[in-house]
């Protein structure tokens, strides 16, 4: 059991360290799927591990053992987990569950608000151009998803560059990328170790849409130029109060592409040829995540077996 817990912990730390390089090296579609499913599996495995540790400690206490008709002697002889660790695990599990419920609730409320807001937007088409000198463009999740572009952004871009922008936002809407983003936040709420995965997943979703936009217009350099010029237009005429500043921080760094923010990295990626599949790296990631899930299941089965054996020993 401690082995399974250690494995989940180690892979979570590894995922946190490797998330950003993976988002850079893997094709964006593969990176988004691997990182989101990895984050969700690791979050569930962490939660299950905490539950198992708490349960293993609980069955060792005499009153619980008596209530469950178990042989205390057999259970303590196996010593599945120390009592102090069990108490700590129970507390952590409660905190994680509360955090997950809070994030899920807030995210659902935000999605409903976005959906309602999207429906209130006039004009029948998917794309809504609003009269605003500030340069801004975003996709609103919902059914159907809408795309909002300000007139300031339209003016900053050429006709070809606008096609890139619309194709990029369409890819967000069509791919239901808000679900990936929500999954990432939920996983990070359960296990704070997984927090670095959130910006990495956000980056791979942007790259995913960039690649789709580039193939839609059939010109990677055009796509790169559209993103660069749109970003500079936003910097020149920022939308709303405090909107651009809030998104910085996570990716800001010293000069040079190594420490560069999200937008220059996206532009640079489009100026390179499209990334190779890298099956080896992808399968290594999938295997590690699967190993975590399986080892937690094995730990659960062995604890279940131990409790049953203890009950059998008592009834004899």
């Amino acid at each position: 059991m401690l082995l399974a817990g250690g494995l989940v912990l180690a892979v979570s730390v590894l995922a946190a360290v490797a998330a950003r390089p993976l988002a850079e090296w893997l094709p964006p579609l593969a990176a988004a799927w691997l990182l989101v499913s990895g984050a969700l599996v690791l979050a569930m495995a962490s939660g299950a591990m905490l539950g198992l540790l708490a349960l293993a400690a609980a069955v060792r206490t005499p009153s619980v053992a008596a209530a469950g008709h178990e042989s205390l002697r057999l259970i303590t002889s196996q010593d599945p987990a120390p009592l102090a660790l069990g108490v700590l695990a129970a507390v952590l599990l409660c905190v994680a569950a509360l955090a997950a419920v809070r994030v899920a609730w807030r995210r659902a409320a935000a999605l409903v608000a976005a959906h309602r807001g999207g429906r209130r937007l006039p004009s029948a088409g998917q794309v809504v151009v609003i009269d605003d000198v500030a340069a801004d463009a975003y996709a609103v999740p919902g059914w159907p998803g809408r795309i909002v572009v300000t007139s300031g952004m339209m003016q900053a871009l050429s006709a070809d560059e606008r096609r890139v922008l619309i194709a990029h936002e369409r890819a967000h809407v069509a791919g239901c990328h808000y679900l990936f983003a929500a999954g990432a936040r939920l996983a990070a709420a359960v296990s704070p170790l997984l927090r670095p995965l959130v910006p990495a997943i956000g980056y791979s979703l942007e790259r995913w849409s960039d690649e789709q936009a580039a193939s839609a217009v059939g010109d990677r350099e055009l796509a790169a130029r559209a993103i660069a010029r749109a970003a500079l237009a936003v910097a020149a005429a920022p939308p709303g109060r405090g909107a651009p500043g809030s998104a910085l921080g996570a990716v800001a760094g010293p000069a040079g592409l190594r420490g560069a923010g999200e937008v220059p990295r996206r532009v640079a990626a489009l100026l390179r040829p499209s990334p190779p599949p890298r099956w080896l790296l992808l399968s290594a990631g999938v295997l590690l995540v699967a190993a975590c899930g399986l080892s937690v299941m094995a730990a659960a089965l062995s604890l279940h077996g131990l409790i049953e054996a203890a009950q059998a020993a008592r009834s004899r």
């Binding site: 807030r106 995210r107 409320a109 935000a110 999605l111 608000a113 976005a114 309602r116 807001g117 209130r120 937007l121 006039p122 004009s123 809504v128 151009v129 609003i130 009269d131 605003d132 463009a137 975003y138 996709a139 609103v140 999740p141 936002e169 967000h172 809407v173 990328h177 808000y178 983003a181 929500a182 936040r185 956000g202 979703l205 350099e221 790169a224 130029r225 993103i227 660069a228 970003a231 500079l232 936003v234 910097a235 920022p238 709303g240 651009p244 809030s246 998104a247 910085l248 990716v251 800001a252 760094g253 000069a255 420490g259 560069a260 923010g261 999200e262 937008v263 220059p264 640079a268 100026l271």
Partner: protein
């Protein structure tokens, strides 16, 4: 109330807005609502004599978008729900992008 202001040719005082509204609202209620909408950045106002005259700041679609953003901003989760085309730039990023645009062949077109 917004429909009244949008339909009007010029800025309206609270008294004029109240005249054009179908429901019977108290004058003070109209003033309160107008000043709240002004505080939210939905309306502009100019002083005319003793009262302010109000006019809408944006067209209808701009207003709907602004309202939606305001709701999501209050959730504190807007960046993650609305998928933006480009995120913010640091000054270093801005310089880097300008250099990429000017140096890379095919980027300057």
């Amino acid at each position: 109330m917004l429909a009244v202001l949008q339909g009007a040719a010029s800025a309206l005082t609270p008294a004029k807005v109240r005249e054009q509204l179908t429901g019977q609202l108290a004058y003070s209620t109209v003033v309160t609502i107008l000043s709240r909408l002004h505080a939210k950045g939905v309306l502009t106002r100019v002083r005319t004599g003793r009262a302010y005259a109000y006019a809408p700041l944006a067209d209808e679609s701009g207003l709907a978008a602004r309202r939606m953003r305001a709701v999501l901003e209050s959730e504190g989760d807007r960046e993650a729900v609305l998928a933006r085309f480009v995120s913010g730039l640091t000054p270093a990023d801005e310089q880097l992008l300008r250099r990429m645009l000017s140096e890379h062949p095919g980027m300057s077109g």
